[in-house]
């Protein structure tokens, strides 16, 4: 499956990935409304970390053996057997945060207003996730990597 990878050396920590992610996961799909008007406020599923000159954005890597899916208490998290995407069924999520506790990347985020865990869905319906499409420095790559290689990387 295709996943989003970071190129740390060209990430400038501009946060546009967070901005566009939030817009994409809003009701209006309009940045201005998403940031200023909507309630519940839409939340970004990616987060940028910065330490000095180092910065990169983090999102769910859709692990092939996803610990969050195995730990989910309610069955809200599941891995699509065809696409490989790890999906969150927000109706089933009770916001217990067990998935956060087992995610090795700290990639799952809390929507505190709705008491739901939210995570990257690779922008289902889009050809390329909006964080990748709108990264001004090409610091994000949407690419296909064989699962064997990936499982070594994700441990």
């Amino acid at each position: 499956m295709r996943r989003v990878y970071v190129k740390e050396e060209v990430c400038i920590g501009c946060l546009l990935c967070e901005v566009y992610c939030r817009g994409q996961h809003s009701q209006s799909h309009d940045l201005l409304k998403a940031f200023k008007k909507e309630f519940p406020p839409p939340s970004s599923r990616v987060s940028v970390e910065t330490r000095g000159q180092v910065s990169f954005s983090i999102r769910c890597q859709h692990c092939s053996q996803a610990p969050c899916v195995y730990a989910c208490l309610t069955g809200a998290l599941s891995r699509d057997p065809v696409s490989g995407v790890v999906n969150m069924n927000e109706d089933r999520c009770i916001g217990c945060w067990t998935c956060l506790l087992v995610c090795p990347l700290g990639a799952i985020r809390r929507d505190i207003v709705q008491a739901k865990a939210v995570k990257c869905d690779l922008c289902q319906g889009e050809d390329v996730p909006v964080c990748v499409a709108n990264c001004p420095n090409e610091a994000l790559v949407y690419a296909e990597v064989p699962d064997m290689v990936l499982s070594q990387a994700l441990g």
Binding site: R2, Y5, V6, K7, E8, L16, V19, G23, L31, L32, F35, E49, T50, R51, V54, S55, F56, I58, Q61, Y70, A71, L73, T74, G75, R92, I94, G95, C96, W97, T98, C99, L100, L101, V102, C103, P104, L105, G106, I108, R109, R110, A115, D127, V128, V132, N134, P136, E138, V141, Y142, A143, E144, V145, P146, V149, L150, Q152, A153, L154, G155
Partner: protein
């Protein structure tokens, strides 16, 4: 019916472990026959959600752990509401209470735990409940529906996870609550003093009374057989209409005793989730499986460990040798909106451990270390990055170069050495050649006004 049915895989227990095993078997064996037996008459539901059921926030449909067509889609023969009477290890059979006999090639015992109910005077009265199954939640709900007296008070015996979850549900129903915990603080097995105090404060703020360091000595009742109150070990008495016994669970091992299967506190399993008898596996609350923090087999009766154990058991049953990497006590709590996570050792057993902690306005962070490896953690408030530390603990990563960062307010993947985060986020160099860059033309940067 006394005819013998034959299945390749027999799974006793229809909760986390049984469902996980079914799914992992089906990943590698699409056609081998599977039967699931459970004494509960419901399709698999999320047991932690019985609290939401009692609070009237979710019905059974909203609690289902898997879609309604799970059994059909996986070609599983579900025997729900059936009870195993006898397990015959050598014959590879089980006998059900309705007389049916089932012959199995591989058996998984995912039979869970039973609530611990101590011998206390008055525990036979009407108005005493346990709280581990949907039927328990239904029974309490029905009891409340028939009560005419308002306000109603419940005494919860035990300040552990089950006690907290029933207390929260009952408070949401407008019931007054007294929690009686024998030890000096609530949640004492999974939290440290600071985090216990945070939960206790949240409970009190929401109207619960919390009594620690005492036990219920007697439950008093009316001549009609109804509960009227409790008397504590110090002579204090409290009026109440119902008592919830929430002391904990123990492995449901009765049917296994005497069969030759090794039982310590629970069914002893190896790293393949295999019990001591061939072709028999166990997982979940009934099993004593490997704990990676303690490096030995322990009971860790929590949902995610049951699921992982069941998944590993299923793969091994289907002939794919798979080692259980181990589980440990691990909980994420959210009582009244207060988020707390803990894993491994919440408190250091002795002075040979190093403890680091920090407090800020919105977070409490603590790690327990030994030989520069994380063996325990407690986070409250801002818990979003706690998974990173849990995985350092699980992987046994040496943290000597960055241990202070673990409890910093801005902790994240970037706090770790590059060699830890780079392989997790960047495209593996070995894959670069085969990768397809789908980025295409860079777009104009558009910043919304």
């Amino acid at each position: 019916m006394t005819s013998m049915e034959k299945v390749k895989y027999l799974i006793v227990g229809n909760s986390a472990g049984g469902i996980a095993a079914t799914e992992s078997i089906r990943e590698v064996d699409r056609s081998g026959s599977i039967a699931i037996i459970s004494d509960e008459p419901y399709p698999a539901y999320s047991r932690p959600l019985i609290s939401e059921y009692l609070a009237k926030r979710r019905d059974l449909e909203g609690m289902l752990f898997r879609p309604a067509d799970f059994y059909e889609r996986n070609n599983v023969h579900a025997l729900l509401g059936c009870r195993v009477k006898q397990l015959n290890v050598d014959e590879h059979t089980v006998e059900l209470t309705d007389g049916r006999r089932i012959n199995w090639a591989k058996l998984l015992l995912a039979i869970g735990g039973v609530p611990i109910v101590p011998p206390i005077e008055g525990f036979d009265l009407n108005g005493i409940f346990t709280f581990t199954t949907l039927d328990d939640a239904k029974a309490i709900d029905q009891f409340l529906g028939h009560l005419v007296k308002r306000p109603t008070r419940a005494v919860v015996v035990g300040g552990g996870l089950i006690g907290m979850s029933v207390a929260e549900a009952l408070l949401r129903r407008g019931i007054e609550i007294t929690i009686v915990e024998m030890k000096e603080r609530i949640l004492n097995t999974i939290l440290d003093e600071e985090a216990s105090a945070l939960v206790e404060e949240a409970l009190r703020r929401n109207g619960a009374e919390v009594i620690t360091g005492h036990t219920v000595a007697v439950v008093t009742g009316a001549s009609s057989g109804e509960v009227t109150g409790v008397t504590l070990d110090d002579g204090r008495s409290e009026c109440c209409e119902l008592v919830i016994v929430a002391i904990g669970v123990r492995p449901r091992v009765e049917q296994v005793l005497g069969t030759g299967i090794e039982v310590n506190r629970g069914i002893v399993v190896d790293r393949y989730m295999s019990a001591s008898a061939s072709d028999i596996y166990a997982c979940g609350d009934v099993a004593e499986a490997y704990d990676f923090v303690y490096g030995e087999n322990r009971l860790t009766p929590i949902w995610p460990n049951a699921f992982m154990g069941g998944r590993v058991a299923g793969l091994n049953m289907a002939g794919v040798p798979t080692e259980y990497e181990g589980g440990t006590a691990m909980n994420s709590l959210k009582y009244f909106g207060l988020a707390i996570v803990s894993a491994g050792m919440a408190t250091a057993p002795d002075d040979s451990y190093e403890v680091l902690n920090s407090k800020s306005n919105h977070a409490y962070r603590k790690v327990v270390l030994k030989d520069d490896r994380v063996l325990g953690m407690v986070f409250a408030g801002d818990i979003e990055k706690s998974g990173i530390i849990f995985n350092l603990m699980k992987d046994g990563v040496k943290v000597d170069g960055f241990k202070q960062a673990l409890i910093a307010d801005d902790f994240g993947l970037a706090s770790l050495p590059q060699e830890v985060w780079r392989p997790k986020l960047e495209m593996p160099p070995s894959a670069l050649a085969s990768a397809i860059d789908l980025f295409g033309q860079p777009e104009q940067i558009v910043v919304a006004e």
